[in-house]
């Protein structure tokens, strides 16, 4: 059902776990579909300066979900790490799916879920910044 790349990221994910004192946390999923995921982000520089230059310094995930959800979580972290927030916002579910060598049609929503979590995190971060300013 899954290709080697998906199985690889499911079996040996590099980005799972928590980040201590993250700058922002994003979530997605619901119990009905069975996937629940959390992304922890460290932003650099953490404070001040225009949002445009900010980069995702570190990112980790915790995912309760199927093999595709775990693999997609690992992939979104790989894709987002080192990117500016603007670049990260532009990551699409197609980017995640094709980086995994295409997910089965039934599992595309897993790729959608992980991009949702990333956008949730970046959205929260921007709002938080606005408030501070």
């Amino acid at each position: 059902m899954y290709n080697k790349k998906v199985i690889q990221h499911f079996s040996h994910p590099k980005f799972f776990g928590k980040i201590k004192n993250p700058d922002v946390v994003g979530t997605a999923g619901n119990p009905r579909c069975g996937d629940l995921l959390t992304l922890y982000l460290k932003i650099d520089p953490p404070d001040g300066g225009p949002a445009g230059g900010k980069k995702i310094k570190d990112i980790k995930f915790e995912t309760l979900g199927c093999a595709a959800a775990i693999a997609a979580s690992d992939m979104i972290c790989e894709l987002a790490k080192g990117k500016t927030l603007e670049q990260a916002l532009n990551l699409s579910f197609q980017d995640v799916s094709s980086a995994l060598g295409v997910l089965p049609p039934l599992k595309i929503h897993c790729a959608q879920l992980v991009t949702e979590a990333l956008r949730d995190a970046i959205g929260k971060y921007s709002k938080y910044k606005e408030k501070k300013l």
Binding site: F16, P31, G34, L36, E62, T63, G65, C66, A68
Partner: protein, 399 residues
């Protein structure tokens, strides 16, 4: 990367064809290949093989030869039982007379979706609930039976968690009600997961229709049986030939039918011993999982007499079933799950939801099913592997 000594713990999905069964089927491909409908000796030889298989099935069910119909699968048998009966009854009914079917909310999809489909044609269907034990309450059934009820269809043993339904009691209730009812109720039981383990004598169960499958009893895939009690009205769904008493057109799958007969005759000889052995292994498995893995639960009744010996269904807090299943597969172990992630609908198992499990519990389910060839060593390896798999996935989920 396929481990050499793989461990198959998915016998409720399918079983390997028994060697003796395979041998019995062998000649009916290229050697004794006649069409059973032909009256020359080629045809007669094939017909004799079918007659023998029919006799083997009839002995197992303790019924007449003329009450056995071979089909292409148990799903087809369920369809023939339900749709075939309703079709025949409708032709007898007067305009405005209603059709009413009672079934349970934990049936196999072959029954459940057939009922959903009939509902679209205006047929009234009642879906009985089950308790936390996964068992239908006779009082609920009794309360739902009305003067218009035509059919009760309840499975014998549930395929996801192994609960044994009180088929004998239901049969007794229905035959009592039928003594005073203007038009009678017919009783169908899907006994696909029951045949290996529990009494399937049709007179004890008082069923009018009973479904069996070949590939769940160490026979071939692609053959099923429908028992039809004499006098039960049934119209064929597949027309175009006189095969199977005119109830199932199409040249018979002789080799598969021979395999069905051979497989079923083997059950009678070994039922007691194998049940005992499998039950012991299942108990070891359940005890091992529950003690070694915190946050694990056994789904369904705790009373051994209410469970078939071969199935144990667990849920594991904080992880998802497909991920467990795939992780086990990588270690060379086959099991299955009721998680939505393996279904097209992306909804968790209707059986586990009907039993009152939460969505997350149903998503985290793992069905382990044992069989004739399961060994204590295999259970030991499983019990060593599963805690590791669960622990890893819980680390990933952070729960």
């Amino acid at each position: 990367m396929t481990p050499k000594n793989r461990i198959y713990l998915d016998y409720a999905a399918t079983t390997p064809v028994d060697k003796k069964v395979f041998k019995a089927m062998g000649p009916y491909f290229s050697q004794t290949y006649g069409n059973p409908s032909s009256i020359h000796s080629w045809g007669e030889e094939a017909q004799a093989a079918i007659d023998k298989a029919r006799d083997q099935v009839a002995k197992f069910l303790n019924c007449k030869l003329s009450e056995i119909v071979f089909t292409g699968s148990a799903s087809e048998s369920d369809n023939l039982a339900i749709r075939g009966l309703i079709k025949a009854l409708k032709r007898r009914k007067q305009e405005g007379e209603k059709v009413h079917i009672i079934t349970s909310s934990i049936e196999h999809k072959a029954v459940l979706e057939t009922c959903h489909d009939l509902e679209k044609d205006g047929i009234k269907i009642t879906y009985l609930p089950v308790g936390k034990d996964g068992i239908v309450d006779i009082a609920d059934l009794k309360a739902e039976i009305n003067p218009e009820t035509d059919l009760v269809s309840i499975m014998y043993v549930n395929n996801e968690m192994g609960a044994i339904q009180p088929i004998e009691k239901i049969g007794r209730l229905i035959s009592e009600i039928n003594q005073t009812k203007k038009h009678r109720i017919f009783f169908h039981a899907d006994a696909v997961q029951a045949a290996n383990w529990v009494n399937c004598k049709v007179d004890d169960l008082k069923v009018d229709l009973l479904t069996l499958s070949g590939h769940k009893i160490y026979g071939p895939k692609g053959v099923g049986v429908l028992y039809i009690r004499q006098g039960t009205p049934i119209s064929p769904l597949i027309t175009g030939g006189d095969q199977e008493w005119g109830l199932r057109a199409g040249t018979e799958n002789v080799a598969n039918i021979v395999g069905m007969g051979a497989a079923i005759s083997q059950i009678s000889n070994s039922k007691f011993l194998i049940s005992k052995k499998v039950k012991k292994l299942r108990d070891k498995l359940v005890k091992g999982v529950l003690t070694k893995i915190p946050g694990s639960n056994l789904t369904g009744s705790e009373k051994p007499e209410e469970r078939a010996p071969h199935i144990a269904n667990f849920s594991f807090l904080g992880i998802e079933g497909e991920a467990i299943m795939l992780s086990l597969d990588q270690e060379g172990i086959a099991a299955s799950t009721g998680s939505a992630c393996t279904s097209r609908a992306l909804l968790p198992s209707h059986v586990l939801m009907a039993m009152g499990l939460s969505e997350l519990e149903a998503h985290s389910s793992l069905r382990v099913s044992l069989g004739r060839y399961t060994t204590a060593k295999e259970i030991d390896i499983f019990l060593k592997t599963l805690p590791r798999v669960v622990e890893r996935l819980r680390k990933i989920s952070g729960r």
